[in-house]
C-alpha cells in the first residue's frame, strides 16, 4: 500500500518490543533495515513477562512508546485485547497461513511456535531407553533424574500443561510425576541447561529451548511423545496507540513475509508462512501430532494450574 508506505517513511522508525532471543531478533531487525524502506527497526528485546509488564505500565502511565509487540505467551494478547490495546491488522498474505496461527478478530497473529517436548541427555540415557510417551516419565527409574519448569513463571510450561492435562487425563499424571521427585526450575530456559550438564537426565520444555542448546553440541536429544505435543504459539501485534502506526504495518508485513519468516525458521522455530524451508534436522510441522491450546482455555485454567501445581510440587 503506497499510502501507508509514504506515511511510514515520514514516521521513520518502528519500535519493536520483542521476546525473541536477542541475536535472532537483531538479525530480523538488521534484515529489515537492510531493505532500506526508509523505516528503521528499533529493537527493545526483553523477556515475555517483562515486556507484558512494561507495555501495561506504559499504557497505565499514558506513555505511547512501543509500536509492535511480540511475546512468547499468547495469553498476554488476550489481556491486550480485553483492554482494547491492539490495532486490528492482518499482515499481507495472512490468508494463506495455517488457520490456527490467526486469531478470530484479526488483532494478532502468531509469529512463531514451538512444540512442548521431552529431551534427554545422550550421555546418560541411550536412545533405546529414552521415554517415548509422556507417561513414561512417571517410571520410577527416572526418580531424581527429571527437570520440570514452573508454570507460574514460564508461559511455555503453562501452555504445555494446559494442552496436556485433558490429553493425559487430568492431574493424576502430575501426581504420579511428583513421585519421581523432579527438579523444579523457574524458566523454560533452565531445563536444557540442567539436561546438558547432566544434573537432570530428562527434561520437559519447548522444543526450541532444547534445539538451540543441542545445536551448540551439547549432548541433548529431543523426543516427540506419542500422545501428542502441545503447540506453544507466540503472537505479534500492533498496539492501538502506536506512535508510528504506518511504520508498524510495514514492519509487520516484513515479519510475516517469506524473508522474515525464513530467518526464524533457520533458527529452528516453526512459523505460519508455509513458504519457508526448515533445517534438515527439524521434523516438518505436518508430521507432528500437535495439540492446539486455546488462549481462552489458558486464561481460564491459569489459576487452577498454578494452585494445583503448588499443591503437588510445593512451589
Amino acid at each position: 500500500d503506497p499510502a501507508v508506505m509514504e506515511a511510514a517513511k515520514k514516521e521513520g522508525k518502528v519500535i519493536w518490543y520483542s521476546s525473541l532471543g536477542l541475536s535472532l531478533a537483531q538479525k530480523v531487525c538488521d534484515a529489515f533495515n537492510k531493505k532500506a524502506l526508509g523505516v528503521t527497526c528499533e529493537l527493545a528485546r526483553d523477556g515475555s513477562q517483562r515486556i507484558f509488564q512494561k507495555v501495561m505500565q506504559e499504557a497505565g502511565a499514558g506513555l505511547a512508546i512501543a509500536d509492535v509487540v511480540h511475546t512468547s505467551d499468547i495469553s498476554h494478547f488476550l489481556d491486550f485485547q480485553q483492554k482494547n490495546m491492539l490495532m486490528r491488522y492482518l499482515p499481507a498474505g495472512a490468508d494463506k497461513f495455517r488457520s490456527d496461527f490467526r486469531d478470530r478478530d484479526g488483532l494478532y497473529t502468531v509469529l512463531r511456535g514451538t512444540p512442548y517436548v521431552i529431551a534427554y541427555n545422550t550421555q546418560k540415557v541411550s536412545k533405546a531407553d529414552a521415554p517415548k510417551r509422556w507417561k513414561d516419565l512417571t517410571d520410577p527409574r527416572w526418580k531424581g533424574k527429571l527437570v520440570h519448569a514452573h508454570p507460574g513463571y514460564s508461559g511455555v510450561v503453562m501452555t504445555g500443561m494446559t494442552g496436556l492435562l485433558p490429553v493425559l487425563g487430568g492431574w493424576d499424571y502430575y501426581a504420579a510425576l511428583t513421585k519421581n521427585d523432579p527438579l523444579v526450575v523457574q524458566s523454560a530456559e533452565d531445563p536444557p541447561m540442567k539436561v546438558a550438564g547432566g544434573e537432570a537426565w530428562l527434561g520437559v520444555a519447548g522444543e526450541y529451548n532444547f534445539y538451540r542448546v543441542a545445536k551448540k553440541g551439547d549432548p541433548i536429544a529431543i523426543v516427540f511423545p506419542e500422545e501428542g505435543v502441545p503447540f506453544v504459539s507466540s503472537a505479534n501485534a500492533i498496539l492501538a496507540k502506536a506512535p508510528h502506526p504506518n511504520a508498524a504495518k510495514v514492519f509487520t508485513d516484513f515479519l510475516f513475509d517469506k524473508d522474515g519468516q525464513q530467518i526464524l525458521a533457520d533458527d529452528g522455530l516453526y512459523v505460519p508462512n508455509e513458504a519457508v524451508t526448515y533445517p534438515k534436522d527439524k521434523r516438518p510441522l505436518k508430521e507432528l501430532k500437535l495439540i492446539k491450546v486455546e488462549p481462552e482455555e489458558m486464561q481460564k485454567r491459569d489459576d487452577e494450574i498454578k494452585k494445583k501445581f503448588r499443591e503437588l510440587f510445593g512451589v
Binding site: S23, Q26, Q49, Q57, L63, G144, G197, G198, G217, V315
Partner: protein, 571 residues
C-alpha cells in the same frame, strides 16, 4: 538611644557575618532523600491499598497476600534465610576484617582484593556456578565424592535452604568485611592497651574491646546482609524453587507472573518495610547510650597483633573462604567459558576462546553495557555517599528535628525487592515533572534509591568514630558546620567514606533486579546483558562475560590500591 544604636550595630554585625550554607545543604539533602524515597514508597503504598480495577481503597490485597497459608509460609522462610545469611556474613566477614586490619597475617592485599571481587559477583551467577559444582547428580563435588568414596548419595545438595544460605552468604559477607575493616582501623590503640594491662590476652581484647567498639559497623553490616538476602531474587529462584520452597521474593515474582497482581505484590512487600523499621529500632536499642569514640588518646593505629604460627592458619581460613566464593565458582565458569558446549566437559575438541570473542566483539551490547555500568556505578556511588554522608551527619548530630525519620527513609528502600521498587520508580518517573523513563537516568535514580541504605549505613558507622569534640573545636574557632565537616570530620572518617563509596559502587556493577525492568536499548548494563545471554541458554557466553567482569573488577581494585595505598578498605 544608645542601646538602639548598638542594637542596629549588632544586627549589622550578624548580617556581615559569613553566610552559613550548612542548613541549606542539610535541607537540600533531606529534600532529595525525601523525593527519592517517598515518591516510590508512597506509590507502592497507594498501590497496596487500591482495588485492581476502578477507584476506591481496599484491604483485599492484604487479605489476598496474607490470608492464605501458602503465602504466609514464604515469610517465615525469608526470615530464616535472611537472618542466617546475616549471621553467617558476620561470622565470615568480621573475623576476616580483623585478620586483615589488625594482625600480621600475610597476604592481606590478596584477601582484600578477592573479597572485593566476591562482592561484584551477581548472586545468580554464583548460584548457577554452584549448581554445576554441588548439584546432587552432576555437581563436580558430588561426582568426585562418589568417585572417591563409592557412596550413592550426594555430599552436599545445593538445592536446599542450607545451600541457599551458603551461596548467598559467600557473596554478602564482603559488606560486613568492608564496614568492619573501616571501623577496626579506627579503634584508638589505648583502649586496647588498657584491656591488655588489665590482663586480657589478644583474643579477650578482641572479644571484649575491639569487636564491641566495631559493633555499630558490624551490626550495620548485618543489617545490609540481612536486607540483601531478604530482597534477593536470583539465587533463591535458582536454588529455592528446585528445593521446593518459596521465599518472599520468589513469591512476589510469582504475583508478577501472568496475570500480574501488582497490587497484591505491593501489599505483600509491606511487611518488609516493617522489618526495616524493626531493624533500625533494634540497632538503636543495641547501641543505647553507649559511646563509641574517645577524643585524643592514641589515634594512631595500634601495632598489628602478632599471631605467630596462627597467622598461617588465619591466611588459610581466609583463602578457604575465598576459594569457596571465588575459586571454585569461577573455576566452574572458566570451564564453561572455554567450552564449545559446556555439557561435554573438558576435552581438547571442546576447547575454544570463541565465547570471549563472541561476548566482546560479536555481541554488540557488551561494550556499551560495560561503559554504561561503570558510568552508572561511579556516579551513583559518588552521589549516594555525598548525600548520605550529609544525612547520616544530620541524623547523628540531631541537627534537624525528625532526624530519625530521615534515618528510616534512608534505610527503607533496601527492604523493597528490586522488582517491586521498580514499579514505584516507574510510576514516579514516567510522567512530568520527572520524565526519566526511557533514559539511562531512571536506572541511575533506581540505583541511587536502592543503594541509599548501604551508603547511609556505611557513613553512619564511619561517623560513629569521630568524636563531636573534634568538630566543636573547629566550630568555636569560626568554622561553620560545613567547613568543620570538611576540615575535620571528612579527613577523620575518610576510610569510612571510601568504604561507603565502594559499598555502593561494587553492587552497582552487579545490580539486576531493578535494571532489568527499567533498561532500554540504549541503557543496557552488564548484569542485564549477562542475564539476557543466560535467558538464551548461552551458558558459555554467560561464563565468559562473568569472568570478564571479574577481571575488570580485579583491575579496578588494583588501580584503586595503587592510588589509595593502605587507605583502600582501611586506614
Amino acid at each position: 538611644m544608645s542601646s538602639a544604636a548598638t542594637g542596629t550595630a549588632s544586627r549589622g554585625g550578624t548580617a556581615r557575618e559569613r553566610l552559613d550554607a550548612a542548613p541549606a545543604v542539610w535541607l537540600l539533602s533531606a529534600a532529595i532523600l525525601a523525593v527519592l524515597v517517598v515518591a516510590p514508597l508512597a506509590i507502592l503504598l497507594v498501590t497496596a491499598v487500591r482495588a485492581p480495577e476502578g477507584p476506591g481503597f481496599t484491604v483485599a490485597n492484604f487479605l489476598e497476600a496474607f490470608g492464605q497459608a501458602i503465602y504466609r509460609g514464604p515469610v517465615g522462610n525469608s526470615l530464616v534465610y535472611a537472618i542466617s545469611v546475616g549471621v553467617l556474613s558476620v561470622v565470615l566477614g568480621a573475623p576476616m576484617a580483623w585478620l586483615v586490619t589488625r594482625t600480621d597475617m600475610p597476604g592481606k592485599a590478596v584477601v582484600r582484593t578477592f573479597t572485593t571481587a566476591a562482592f561484584v559477583t551477581p548472586s545468580f551467577l554464583g548460584a548457577t556456578a554452584y549448581v554445576i559444582l554441588a548439584g546432587p547428580n552432576a555437581g563436580l563435588i558430588n561426582v568426585l565424592y562418589r568417585a572417591v568414596t563409592g557412596a550413592e548419595g550426594a555430599l552436599f545438595n545445593i538445592f536446599s535452604m542450607a545451600g541457599l544460605i551458603y551461596v548467598t552468604s559467600l557473596y554478602t559477607f564482603p559488606v560486613v568485611f568492608i564496614l568492619t575493616s573501616a571501623a577496626l582501623s579506627a579503634t584508638p590503640a589505648d583502649l586496647e592497651e588498657a584491656a591488655r594491662i588489665a590482663g586480657a590476652g589478644r583474643l579477650a581484647v578482641m572479644r571484649t574491646i575491639t569487636l564491641p567498639l566495631a559493633l555499630p559497623a558490624i551490626f550495620g553490616g548485618f543489617i545490609l546482609a540481612f536486607l540483601e538476602a531478604l530482597v534477593l531474587f536470583g539465587a533463591p529462584a535458582m536454588l529455592a524453587i528446585p528445593a521446593r520452597f518459596h521465599v518472599m521474593t520468589t513469591q512476589v515474582w510469582a504475583f508478577f507472573q501472568y496475570p500480574p497482581q501488582v497490587e497484591v505484590a505491593a501489599a505483600y512487600a509491606m511487611p518488609l518495610l516493617l522489618i526495616a523499621v524493626g531493624l533500625l529500632w533494634a540497632q538503636r536499642r543495641l547501641m543505647g547510650r553507649r559511646g563509641y569514640t574517645t577524643v585524643g588518646g592514641r589515634a594512631s593505629a595500634a601495632p598489628p597483633v602478632r599471631l605467630g604460627p596462627w597467622r598461617w592458619a588465619g591466611l588459610a581460613a581466609c583463602v578457604g573462604v575465598l576459594l569457596l566464593s571465588i575459586g571454585l565458582p569461577y573455576f566452574a565458569l572458566l570451564r564453561a567459558a572455554l567450552a564449545k558446549a559446556w555439557g561435554l566437559g573438558w576435552s581438547w575438541q571442546n576447547l575454544t576462546l570463541r565465547n570471549f570473542h563472541y561476548v566482546l566483539f560479536e555481541f554488540d551490547p557488551t561494550r556499551s553495557a560495560i561503559v554504561n555500568t561503570l558510568e552508572l556505578a561511579t556516579v551513583t556511588a559518588t552521589l549516594a555517599v555525598f548525600l548520605m554522608g550529609a544525612i547520616a551527619y544530620v541524623a547523628q548530630r540531631r541537627l534537624l528535628r525528625g532526624a530519625r525519620v530521615l534515618a528510616f527513609l534512608a534505610t527503607a528502600p533496601l527492604a523493597i525487592p528490586g522488582i517491586v521498587l521498580s514499579i514505584g520508580l516507574f510510576k514516579a518517573y514516567s510522567r512530568p515533572p520527572l520524565l526519566l523513563y526511557g533514559t539511562i537516568w531512571i536506572i541511575f535514580v533506581a540505583y541511587l534509591t536502592k543503594y541509599l541504605p548501604i551508603a547511609y549505613t556505611a557513613c553512619h558507622a564511619a561517623l560513629q568514630t569521630v568524636h563531636v569534640d573534634l568538630e566543636d573545636a573547629a566550630r568555636v574557632l569560626g568554622a561553620n558546620r560545613l567547613v568543620a565537616f570538611k576540615d575535620v570530620t571528612v579527613p577523620l572518617f575518610g576510610a569510612g567514606l571510601i568504604s561507603a563509596w565502594l559499598l555502593v559502587f561494587l553492587p552497582s556493577l552487579r545490580e539486576l533486579s531493578s535494571s532489568i525492568l527499567l533498561f532500554t536499548t540504549r541503557s543496557r548494563v552488564v548484569s542485564v546483558v549477562i542475564y539476557t545471554l543466560y535467558e538464551e541458554g548461552l551458558w558459555e557466553a554467560v561464563s565468559a562475560l562473568g569472568i570478564l567482569l571479574l577481571g575488570l573488577t580485579l583491575l579496578l581494585v588494583a588501580v584503586a590500591q595503587r592510588f589509595l595505598g593502605r587507605r583502600f578498605l582501611q586506614i
